[in-house]
């Protein structure tokens, strides 16, 4: 088993209570940061650690924090983005369910570093039971004196709130999250101004993913340089990967950045290979919005080097032969799965979740979904495949927020790598309809 920093104590019974959590070294970082360090020192440690945002974009967290505007007399906010809705990603859910105090500890230290006196955890509407877990943990932390006025006698005040969303994927986009938190319709805002200048209620705001905030705890405890020793190059530390699909042992794994993809899929410590001794057909390494990779490009890059679980290695080859680490939603497809059906499924998700604000995404995602539906259900034509590729190009980069790109990339990549399969669906309509792609047929159910 690899190193475990975030999930070190996830198996300990009662770790969700503050007493057990503190027995296992919990809240050390709060004491260390508030008593011995200045906010600037905490930011500096995070910068040294090389921690990159774990929500998908991989933007350096320390740099994001350093961009925060600090005008006099204006409150600043830290928001935790727990609106984890990317298909294939469920790491934040596991972390919050098992070790809620780790997130709260991270929130206290991060808020202290940013000078925020009011912070919020924006949680996905479907995670209502986790809302209860977090609220209970916050009440415990408050009773123990880690939240409220004058924390640990340091003179620093912090209130922490949990706000549930309505279950919209788009509210995971940081400006839509802010709109939603303000009580408005969750439409992304135009950028600039960025949230670091004008965010919640028009005040400077930082929005971070759950895992990024949790990772601040070991960084403060052990020092940023120690954290940066794990990993390769600019991909430092450990990463939570939610593995799903046709694997022997799917689940949430904490990996050191830089283990090979081959080890992750086939290694005994990790997923233990493809279920039922089948062959791998394709893999989506970072959640539904990243490009899909065919089997021969999953473990090796186009240049023949081993592909590693890092931001850089997974993106090697650009979109032509690479993908992205994204949010770490690692989905594996075996040889019996249908790429067309899967692509349609993703497209259906994005068509459903588009906010409808800007035209390319609103109309384009729906159009793609309909064309893919026809291809999958045996009424498509060969020119539809080219049409899809063209719609893609017109959406990509022309939208307000990245949802348009996220909808366009998986479709573009599926056509790029599996064009024959799309064509086969058109030329062999009946067989395509008859073939049971390892899925329970509706007629059987």
């Amino acid at each position: 088993m690899g190193r475990r920093i975030l999930l070190e104590n996830d198996h300990v019974p009662g770790i969700e209570t503050i007493d057990v959590y503190r027995k296992h070294g919990g809240y050390r970082s709060v004491e260390k940061a508030l008593k011995k360090m200045s906010p600037e020192q905490v930011v500096e440690e995070v910068q040294k650690s090389g921690l990159r945002g774990r929500g998908g974009a991989g933007f350096p967290t320390g740099m994001k924090w350093s961009f925060l505007a600090k005008p006099e007399g204006v409150p600043r906010y830290l928001l935790c983005n727990a609106d984890e809705s990317e298909p294939g990603t469920f790491k934040d859910r596991y972390l919050m369910e098992k070790i809620p105090h780790l997130l709260i500890e991270g929130m206290i230290v991060s808020s202290y570093a940013l000078g925020a006196n009011q912070s919020y955890i924006y949680i996905r509407g479907e995670y209502m039971w986790i809302l209860d877990i977090l609220e209970k943990a916050i009440a415990e932390a408050k009773a123990a004196g880690f939240l409220g006025k004058n924390i640990l006698g340091s003179g620093y005040d912090l209130e922490l709130g949990v706000a549930p969303g309505g279950g919209a994927y788009i509210c995971g986009e940081e400006t839509a999250l802010i709109e939603s938190l303000e009580g408005k319709r969750g439409n992304p805002r135009m950028k600039p101004p960025f949230p670091a200048v004008k965010g919640l209620w028009g005040c400077p705001t930082v929005v971070n993913n759950v895992e990024s905030i949790a990772a601040v705890v070991p960084i403060v405890n052990d020092g940023g340089e120690e954290y940066a020793k794990i990993g390769i190059g600019k991909s430092t530390g450990t990463k939570l990967i939610s593995a799903s699909g046709n694997l022997v042992r799917p689940g949430v794994y904490e990996i050191d950045m830089g283990i090979s993809v081959e080890e992750f899929i086939y290694g005994d410590d990790y997923c233990r290979g493809i279920a039922y001794n089948k062959k791998m057909k394709a893999c989506v390494p970072g959640g539904s919005s990243v490009p899909i990779l065919p089997a021969h490009l999953v473990t090796k890059t186009a240049a023949g080097e081993d592909r590693l679980m890092t931001y850089e290695s997974l993106a090697d080859g650009g979109f032509a032969s690479g993908s992205m680490l994204g949010s770490g939603g690692f989905i594996v497809f075996d040889e019996d799965q249908c790429i067309v059906r899967n692509t349609w499924n993703f497209a259906r998700f994005y068509a459903h979740e588009s906010c409808g604000q800007c035209s390319p995404c609103r109309e384009g995602t729906g159009w793609m979904e309909k064309v893919l539906y026809r291809l999958e259900h045996g009424t498509g034509n060969l020119h539809d495949i080219d049409l899809l590729a063209e719609i893609n190009k017109k959406i990509e980069g022309n939208t307000i927020c990245p949802l348009g790109d996220a909808a366009a990339w998986p479709v573009a990549a599926a056509i790029r790598h599996f064009r024959e399969e799309f064509e086969w669906h058109v030329t062999n309509r009946e067989e395509a309809q008859r073939k049971n792609y390892g899925l329970l047929k509706e007629s059987v159910a």
């Binding site: 919209a168 788009i170 319709r185 135009m190 068509a351 459903h352 979740e353 588009s354 906010c355 409808g356 604000q357 800007c358 035209s359 390319p360 995404c361 609103r362 109309e363 384009g364 995602t365 729906g366 159009w367 309909k370 026809r374 049409l387 190009k393 017109k394 980069g397 022309n398 939208t399 307000i400």
Partner: protein, 320 residues
């Protein structure tokens, strides 16, 4: 003041001006089309994506080009910025793509639409649209609904520019929601109907770039190009009283605010010249207006056909 180059035209504008407004200060071909941006309504813009332009040089200090096309209505100019609109093939292609997206679910019922002849989507489709649609699916449909007793909403024609929502925002504190649902299913909601009991609600019709919001006192009465737009004024306690009356013979068919060449309501006496519902819907008697004279209409507009050309002008001669 900052220097900016748009399609090889160099101009100086105030700092903080958007690219679109900088282009409008020159006018002519270099102005990108705008379906959702409305300079008189704060908060509009950025949604329709028809005003996308290419920034070939970010600024004097940082000459790197911007990787993506940017919405010119919501991107401010920088000193030394170089913008390409008409001269960029990429912009033209992507704008064509946006127009295609706007049209796939549009009913294209121009022959029975009251907006025909003064519709921005028509102009846009004429310039950038394809000759044939590639959309094979059924178009989405909604039932027409009433917004108050004078306005009809045809959601089928709507392009979700949000302009009317912003008008509602200006008029009332009690707007609950302007738009319901998400994505393709998004629609301008009846909540506007419930929220607006206001003397200025008719201005939603004027800001609508398409035929989604129409005047119930004028619907199906006449095509706009059969009418003569005349500048007229009246004594009104609620608004400036300065409007355009659309006449056929000596009858007034409809009343609108005075709009400039970008379809935006002009300023009157230093304020945006919104007109009140009384002037718009109820004063259809010519004796209530002081008709000042014909409204100047762009000669390329279908509305100017046959009305303002003197018998000796060239156009008339060629038609015979």
């Amino acid at each position: 003041m900052v220097k900016v180059t748009i399609d090889d035209v160099q101009i100086e504008v105030e700092e903080g001006t958007s690219i679109l407004n900088a282009a409008r200060s020159v006018g002519g071909e270099i102005v990108p089309p705008a379906m959702c941006y409305y300079s008189k309504l704060p908060g509009t813009g950025g949604k329709c994506r028809t005003c996308l332009v290419e920034v070939a040089q970010g600024s004097e200090k940082d000459p790197r080009p911007m990787p993506k096309l940017v919405a010119s209505c919501s991107t401010n100019v920088m000193d030394g910025m170089v913008v390409k609109n008409k001269t960029s093939e990429r912009v033209q292609q992507n704008r064509g793509g946006v127009v295609e997206f706007l049209l796939i679910n549009h009913p294209l019922d121009c022959p029975i639409c009251d907006q025909a002849g003064e519709c921005h989507l028509q102009d846009l489709g004429f310039e950038h649209g394809g000759a044939k649609t590639r959309y094979e699916e059924d178009r989405r449909t909604f039932d027409p609904i009433d917004i108050g007793n004078k306005i009809k909403l045809h959601m089928n024609r709507c392009i979700l520019c949000y302009r009317c929502v912003h008008v509602a925002n200006q008029l009332t504190e009690s707007r609950v929601h302007g738009v319901l649902h998400r994505g393709e299913h998004a629609e301008i909601s009846t909540y506007i109907e419930n929220a607006i009991e206001n003397d200025f609600s008719g201005n939603m019709i004027d800001v609508c770039p398409v035929g989604a919001l129409t005047d119930k006192t004028f619907r199906f009465k006449s095509r706009v190009w059969f009418l003569k737009p005349m500048e007229a004024s009246c004594e009104c306690t609620k608004c400036s009283g300065k409007a355009v009356v659309w006449m056929f013979g000596n009858e007034i068919y409809r009343v609108t605010a005075r709009k400039d060449k970008y379809g935006e309501v002009e300023d009157q006496d230093g304020k945006t010249g919104w007109i009140c519902n009384d002037c718009r819907f109820d004063k259809k008697d010519v004796s209530k207006w002081n008709v000042e004279g014909p409204r100047k209409i762009d000669r390329h507009s279908v509305i100017s056909q046959g009305h303002y050309l003197s018998p000796r002008s060239g156009a008339q001669k060629t038609i015979k």
